[in-house]
Symmetry: C2
Subunit: 219 residues, 2 copies
């Protein structure tokens, strides 16, 4: 019975710990899309009562990470290809908006953050380290979100990345994919740094379209 990792985290409520644990499990793919969330099972698994579990499930449901199917209960959201395309389209639009805003507001600090994230991406890609690349890629995109200077845009974009995480993760099957993705970043960076918002828009559009096509292949 894997009790929660940090039982000493007395500051955080049990409900939040369960929520975080579930998000992690879903993002990591341990809980596959379509899996049913059993209140009593999770409760005893995490050593708490049903109440905080219900609270966590509710919050996840409100975020769209869990959905209620035709059967009773909540399930890890699973999407058809069409739904996936729609979600990616939405994410796509938000990323484009972020890139455009970032290109208009770019300051030196944000710029250096993006660049160093990209450096980490390239290193991980060349080393063929898939896990490191995923993390670096995440930091890269987060840096762009942050560069918008708009935390609401940033959290919106982050939320979509969380939701699509399980589907995007699959696509890096070999080292070439990593390197291709990193190369892709380079041109996107150039476009953003050009401080021409139209160029940045186009750049992100290409990047995201590319990215989505690969997801569809493996889903």
């Amino acid at each position: 019975m894997p009790v929660l990792d940090k039982p000493m985290d007395t500051k955080v409520s049990a409900a939040r710990r369960v929520e975080q644990a579930l998000v992690d499990a879903i993002s990591a793919g341990e809980l596959e899309p379509g899996t049913r969330m059993d209140e009593v099972g999770l409760a005893e698994q995490y050593g708490v009562s049903r109440t905080p579990v219900r609270e966590a499930l509710n919050r996840l449901a409100a975020q769209g990470i869990l959905v209620s199917g035709e059967k009773r209960g909540l399930f890890v959201a699973e999407y058809s290809k069409e739904e996936l395309a729609q979600i990616f389209e939405a994410m796509h639009e938000i990323e484009i908006a972020c890139a455009r805003i970032a290109s208009q507001r770019l300051n030196l600090f944000a710029r250096s953050e993006i660049e160093s994230a990209q450096t980490a991406c390239v290193e991980a890609a060349e080393a063929g380290d898939r896990v490191a690349y995923l993390r670096a890629n995440e930091a890269f995109h987060q840096a762009i979100y942050k560069a918008t200077g708009n935390p609401y845009m940033a959290s919106l974009a982050s939320e979509f990345r969380r939701r699509t995480g399980p589907f995007r993760a699959k696509r890096f099957s070999n080292g070439d994919d990593l390197i291709a993705s990193a190369k892709n970043h380079e041109s996107l960076i150039e476009d953003i740094f050009s401080e021409n918002s139209a160029t940045a828009t186009t750049g992100m559009r290409n990047h995201m379209a590319e990215s989505f096509l690969q997801v569809l292949k493996v889903s």
Copy 2:
């Protein structure tokens, strides 16, 4: 003690009814930003126990409609002018994306829905009926969201409208404001119907900028 409107709605859980009631109250401005949500108070107000109230509050908090301040408890979100500007910027971007996508995919049915919503807006504006206008305006924007054919974009945009509802509602102080807003819609519609996505983008950009400037005036 205003008991819930539809006590017979046995199909819907108490938690959902409370949630909906709270959303309505907040959107309508009955619960002003900064108001503290009292679990026990709401519980007896709606004639249920704390459990479903807590569930509703949690869901609202997950949507960002409620936030936890420095004091204990949850509060109706209130924003500084800068935060408001950022939220509107984000909403702005999403609306623009919706308008662009809608203009690319517009079919006759969606088109007629947008047009009839606009007709209702004009009628309400000319009658000087503020409440009717708010509802019609809402339907107008929802019709555009729906016209994207992408439910995720639509729900995203809807969520932002819910969040900004209390702030937008204030801005229609007199009849001229209504008429101005309705006129504003006309040009936006033309832009969307032009099926030129660049034009639709520009149109929505103007509409939203106009809208936001008025919000800032009264906030």
